[in-house]
Structure formats: structure tokens, C-alpha cells
Amino acid sequence: MIPQLPAGVDVTLDQLDRDGALREAGSRLPRGRFLGLAAGAAVAFGGLASPARGVTKGDVAILNYALSLEYLQSAFYTETERVAAVKGQAARAARVVGAVERAHVIAFRNLLGRKAIKRPLFDFRGTTEDQQAFLKTAVAFEDLAVAAYKGQAHLIESDAVLAAAVSIHSVEARHAAWVRHLFGIRPAANAFDEGKPRAEIERIVQSTSFVVARSRTRGRGGPRFTG
């Protein structure tokens, strides 16, 4: 039986991570580079030819923002499936949801072409390697995605882009309900959902420190191997 939470409970990374397990102190990473880059990239590439013909600059920024969230989700489920530490129904959810999130990434990249932001590197800090941490984070990610899509709906200029966003939004909501059920909380807690503004989504994602810099594996000095 699913434990009942008080009406209106909205699970976010902030609320789930009261113990700080998801975010360690001393982030070693370029905070603000990931989601912040999405808007910058759209502006910087504004003059380039793009497959996203007819899509306004504002919609390109929103599409890149959505792509950044899809990167985050697809990387999370891909790593979970590959590491194979999560078992049972949760593993099945990771497999099924991950396959869908990867399809979303491909669709956004195809639409944006050269305007698409690059895939960042992630460090999920063990949340893909532990059953409870996985479910906790999956709930937060899916709820976050639902709120993010909803939060942008009124800003989308093109009907075609809005139709695309709505078609993904409902899928993310199904994912949210599924992983909430697996985590043991009410799949649909509210009669009405509210969107979240981009700044709030960015703050939540950045607080996790899941976006990291690439490790330096190429050296500049001379070798001192045994020869």
C-alpha cells in the first residue's frame, strides 16, 4: 500500500534531499554552466543556419533548455541500467524510462541541429548505484521535468513546438507517476499541478552538483615510465 502524504505535497530534489545525500559539500564543478549554457548557446548560435527552420530564437532557447533536462534524465537512467546495481521493478523502470528519455534527446538534437547544446558530463554521486537513492532521485527528476515543461508552455511561440512539448510533458507525467508509485508515495498528489520557472529549476539542478567538468587525462609533461 502506498503511504499517504498530506495533500499538496510536491516532491522536489530539495525536499527529498534533506539529509544532503544527493549533494556533497564542496562542489568541484562549474555551477551554472549546464542549464545556463542553454540560453547562451541559443543566442550565440542565433546567426547560424539551422535545421530548426522557422523556429524563433526564443523557442530555440526553450528547446535547448528542454534538451538539457533530457540529457540529465537520459544519462541518469543509462548509467543506472549499465551499472546494474538497481534491481527488480526499479530496474525495469530505469530500462523503460531511459529508452524513452534517449528518444527525446535524439528528437531534440535532430530538430535543433547545430543549435543544440552539447551533452555535459555527469556525476550522479552514487544515486545510480543504490536502490533507494535511485528511486528518490528518479522521483525528483520526473517531477522536475513535468514542472519545467509546464513552466515554459506559456512562453512557447510556435504551435508546432508547443504541440511537441505537450506530447513530451504527458509522457514525463506518466514517468513521474510510475516512479512515485515505486518509491511508495502517491502517484498523483494534487488536483492541479503548477509549473516552475526556469530559474527555480536551474537552482535545483545546480544544487545537486550532478553536472561536472571533464577529468584531465592528457598530460603535458614528458613521460617517466620505465621505458
Partner: protein
Amino acid sequence: MASPSASPALAASPAPALRIGQPVRLRAARYLTHWAPVVRSVAARSAPTVTAPTVARLTTQTPEQTANLVLALGRTTDAKGRVWTRVRLPVLPNNTIGWVPRAALGGLSAVRTRLVVDLERLTATLYRGGRRVFRAPVGVGRSQWPTPRGEFYIRNRLSSYRSPFYGPIAFGTSARSAVLTDWPAGGFVGIHGTNRPELLPGRVSHGCIRMRNPDILRLARQLPIGTPLTIR
């Protein structure tokens, strides 16, 4: 109730800008290996608990000032909910394995490659996804400075240097000479080019794995950092 024909026509829904394809399943993980950088100096322990004996201390950098890497071989969660990672270590004795807190490691990366050095046949063979994609003759350690056998990994790549002895590119490995322990920087075994190609294949080195320069350049195009290395 009004007949359907009396209702005003609703506008058709616009076609979505995105064409979302079928869900994308992952390829089989059979040949995958994960590695991670050490982001916090840490003691590697013989078991996944803070009270287990220390088997090695890990720093965040290699002697070449690159990120220190470990191969992630497994994981477990302790009674307090902390995730521990079982790792292959770049220490003597070779083939040492230990446990480190997951929090001491950075993000996981995956590779599908595997490099095998055969000390009898004097060859290096690279596999990707189980398929052979590269093979070349090599020089290995002389009998007094043998190339160590075991399971290791590629941990860095050096190319911005001028040393004909090492050729154009050198890869650092986690293998260490068991006899040249006082060698500068710890006696790590490298895989590199040479200015004496006529000696290959052969038992000619201090333990390093030498290749002809065209071969090391060809290998470098296909060898990602973190690739497991078997020396047998």
C-alpha cells in the same frame, strides 16, 4: 442533444515540431567497463567499511599531473546507506583491489575496449565490443626487468613532449615494475613509441611496452582512457 453536424468545427491540432522515434534500448553491457577519477584523497580498504585495513592510499593526481583513475569493478551499500566501490588500484603489489567510498570518486565513464598484451607472442591486440580492431608487434621487458603480468588499465595519455626514446605518444598504465621500484615517478609501465623500431618485436625494454611509431599512432586513434589492459 445537438447533432455532430451542428457543432462548430474544431481546428485540427498542429503537427509537433519534433518527430519522436521509438524508445532507444541500450546495447548489451557485456563488454562495458566503468572507470572514475579519484576526486578526494582516500584510503582504499580491504572491505567496504571504515574499519577495514588500508590496502593503499589514493591521491587525486598521477605523477604526470593527470587525474588519477580507478576501474570500478563493483559496488555495495553499507548499513549506514553509504555506497562503496570496489576498484582496481594502481599500486604495488600489482593486481591489488580495494574498496573506496563512492563519494571519493567522480562521475563514471564507460568504455567498450580491452587491450591485451601477450608476452609470449609479443603482440598487443585491441578489442572493441569483443571484436579485434588492432594488432601490432611489441617490445617488452628483458628478463631482469620483466613486464608485469596481470589486470591493469590505461590511465593517461601524453603527447606534448619531445623524446625520440618514447616516440610521439605514450600511454600511462596502472601496471608497475616489481623490480624497478626506485624508478622516478614510481616505475609505472607505459605503452609508447620508440626510436629503435628494428628491435621489435623483442624483449628489449625496462618493462614498458614499446611499439613502432606508426603502430602507436594507429592505436592512439582507437584507445580510450580507462581501457582495461591484460598482460599475460
